[in-house]
Amino acid sequence: MRIVIAEDLALLRDGLARLLRDNDLEVVAEVADADALVHAVLRERPDLAIVDIRLPPTFRDEGLRAALELRSSAPETAILVLSQYVEHTYAAELLAEAGSTGGIGYLLKDRVLDAADFVDAVRRVGSGGTALDPEVVAQLLGNRGGQRLDVLTPRELEVLTLMAEGRSNAAIAVALVLTVGAVEKHIASIFQKLRLPPSESDHRRVLAVLAYLGTVPFGDTP
């Protein structure tokens, strides 16, 4: 998998690149600002761009804006946005832009600490999946969806949370120490209780859940 990294802090950029190379991922370019990112992506056409949300010169959200721009100019490149903080409004913007194609991730930089989990998320996004930071999901479930999720059992809520993060059934099974079959049963029950449309891919499943929680507009759901 070919990856471009855009991160203005050299320490972090090098650390990330080392971590990815250690895990047999190919880092083809490391850049420090949004313009360089767009150029690098258009030149290299990588499978994935890892983008810090804050980049020079204003250190606001130009990483996010560049990512949204790349979505239309280089749709085959998946985007993983990293940030010091997460806001579900940004997540909503990213997911709305992604539409039903997938290949979108939004994670706290903290997640780098768990190397295995992080690399898993990188591979997932790079191959067209979704990775949504647990904190975003927690924000959504904790406040917006609170009342509407009363119908779910605690176990189903756990499954829904992992599902919203973009994980596959197998990954959910591993995380909750369940069999894949049990996970599938829980998911079927969740979809039935929340009256969600059945979805064939993990990414579409994320969109359905987020649309249910009122984050992405319903028109974008499959």
């Binding site: 804050r54 959200d61 806001e87 409004t89 706290l108 924000q139």
Partner: protein, 557 residues
């Protein structure tokens, strides 16, 4: 023809109902409305005298007393008199012309000076004055013309009776016989018919004047509409004045171009137009605090120029306007002195306020820095120390107890995650990134989503306010929400943010038990923060609730 009702019937209708041409021509002579119209036109002469006295006396005394508080009752009284005269004339117009002007709506204003300002800005007041001005210039001239025409016609008609005593002469032709005198009778009849038609026309014209000037207009809604309607008023004023001068000059030229009497129309009109222009220019261009003095000075200058012009076109000789300049000018000087003193006082007070609020802001910043320092030492630094210990122990155990070492490393990693989370929360408390990126609306919505209480956020802003104002407004809302969640026992919070009159307004209301201490550390810090931006913070928190915290921050206009 409506004899009793007083309703006007358009001339066209009268013409179409008349069958015989002769009857048609002399019809107005036998219609009561003609005489009503005539009466209203003739009433213009005493009304003109009253209006002339009132307008000149009113504005002169207002100009003289403009610096004293007396100007306020004077303005109110003057407006009342103008209203009385205008309404009296309107009543006359109603019974004689059948037009029905609605009662004028006066804007009242609040506070002592506010009342005076409301008078000056009241369109009804200006329209009534405009009406009186028309009535005393054009109306007066037309009334005199009409009455002269009637007198001449009546004279010609009755010549056969009195030619013996004073026969009119036209060059060498004397109307000194009955036959010759009788020749005047048809001319007199024709004159009376013309006068009757003229009276009807003048009546219609007067009715139109009353309708268009003495009827209140709905108040314009937006500032832009207001500005436009005021500019239009200025145009109408100027064009009317110019038109009147042109008309009277034509009349003057047509009547032998002797003594240039239209100057008595021109001068008062020029004075009023000049005052109008001065008021408009000053209110549009100058800052509020300079307006009163500028208007006063401008009006005095205009009145002085008016009097000089009067002096120049009359006998000249002794320069009496000098005395009025002395009187009115010294009033302006006193006004200027008072304004200067008051401004000096205001500046001194302002400096005092700024010193206090700056001190407050610096103290607040100091306290904030100390809080951040403490948080860093107690939080992140302590975590890093613990991390270092864990890693050091792990290093020691690598050889002897690899499993224990691995456990310690895992602990260390968990500690790093914790430290990162604390740092993030700390950073968010210092300045939430979403506030910089997306503005106060998005930031407050994020805050509301995190709040354990049901929170509604209504932000109504066309554009983002300046950053310091936006940040202060955000922290007012954030602190108020935190207080509500911690102390009040509230279940719901409502936040509204809007802009009005150059102020950013933030209001946070919770349905809790109230009793918040406005001088408690959190609210006092907020007050210092708001005051440093020249804003005000008000806390209403009666026992039993609800609590409303409201900040108003100036943010340009």
């Amino acid at each position: 023809m409506a004899a009793g009702g007083g309703r006007r019937q358009p001339l066209v209708n009268i013409l179409s109902t008349a069958t015989e041409p002769t009857m048609q021509i002399i019809r107005p002579l036998f219609q009561p409305q003609t005489y009503r119209d005539l009466l209203f036109v003739a009433a213009g002469i005493p009304v003109a005298a009253l209006a002339l006295g009132l307008l000149i006396a009113g504005w002169t005394s207002i100009a003289v007393l403009a610096i004293t508080p007396l100007v306020v009752p004077l303005l109110l009284g003057y407006r009342a008199l103008v209203g009385l005269l205008a309404r009296g004339d309107a009543k006359l117009a109603r019974s004689l012309l059948g037009v029905r002007p609605d009662p004028p709506a006066w804007s009242e204003g609040s506070g002592f000076w506010g009342r005076a300002k409301a008078v000056v800005l009241d369109p009804t007041f200006w329209r009534q004055q405009g009406y009186l001005l028309l009535r005393m210039t054009l109306g007066f001239a037309l009334a005199v013309g009409e009455l002269t025409l009637i007198a001449a016609a009546a004279g010609a008609l009755t010549l056969p009776i009195w030619y013996r005593w004073s026969a009119p002469e036209y060059g060498s032709w004397h109307a000194d016989s009955l036959g010759r005198a009788l020749l005047h009778v048809p001319v007199g009849i024709a004159g009376l018919i013309v006068a009757a038609w003229l009276a009807r026309a003048l009546g219609s014209f007067s009715a139109w004047q009353v309708r268009s000037l003495l009827r209140p207009r709905p108040a314009p809604a937006t500032a832009d509409q207001q500005r436009r309607s005021r500019r239009r008023a200025l145009w109408i004023d100027g064009c009317t004045a110019l038109g009147l001068v042109v008309v009277t000059t034509i009349v003057w030229a047509a009547t032998g171009a002797g003594y240039y009497w239209p100057e008595w129309v021109l001068l008062p009109l020029a004075l009023l137009f000049a005052i109008h222009v001065i008021v408009e220019l000053v209110t549009a261009r100058l800052p509020r605090r300079d307006q009163a003095l500028a208007i006063h000075g401008g009006v005095v200058a205009a009145i002085f120029l008016f009097l000089v012009a009067v002096w120049a076109v009359t006998a000249r000789g002794y320069f009496w306007p000098g005395w009025t300049l002395l009187g009115l000018g010294s009033a302006v000087v006193v006004h200027w002195l008072i304004t200067r003193n008051r401004r000096r006082d205001r500046l001194a007070r302002r400096v005092e306020t700024l010193e206090t609020t700056r001190l407050g802001a610096v103290e607040e910043q100091d306290a904030e820095l100390r809080r951040i320092e403490r948080d860093l030492h107690d939080g992140a630094q302590a975590r890093l120390v613990a991390l270092g210990i864990s890693l050091g122990m792990a290093e020691q155990r690598f050889a002897s107890d690899p499993e224990g070492a691995q456990r310690l490393v895992a602990e260390a990693r968990a500690g790093v995650a914790e430290a990162l989370k604390e740092m993030r929360d700390l950073a968010r408390g210092i300045y939430p990134p979403v506030l910089a990126d997306r503005g106060i609306g998005a930031a407050l919505k994020t805050l509301a989503d995190r709040s354990p209480l049901t929170t509604t956020v209504a932000v109504d802003l066309a554009e983002r306010p300046p950053a310091p104002v936006e940040t202060a407004a955000y922290f007012v809302a954030a602190e108020a929400m935190a207080n509500a969640a911690k102390h009040s026992g509230a279940g719901r919070i409502e936040i509204s943010v809007g802009r009005r009159d150059g102020l950013l307004e933030v209001e946070v209301t919770d349905d809790g038990g109230g009793g918040a201490d406005p001088d408690g550390s959190g609210l006092a810090g907020l007050r210092r923060r708001v005051e440093a931006l020249d804003g005000t913070l008000t806390v209403r928190s009666p026992d039993g609730g609800p609590t409303t915290i409201r900040a108003e921050l100036p943010c340009g206009s």
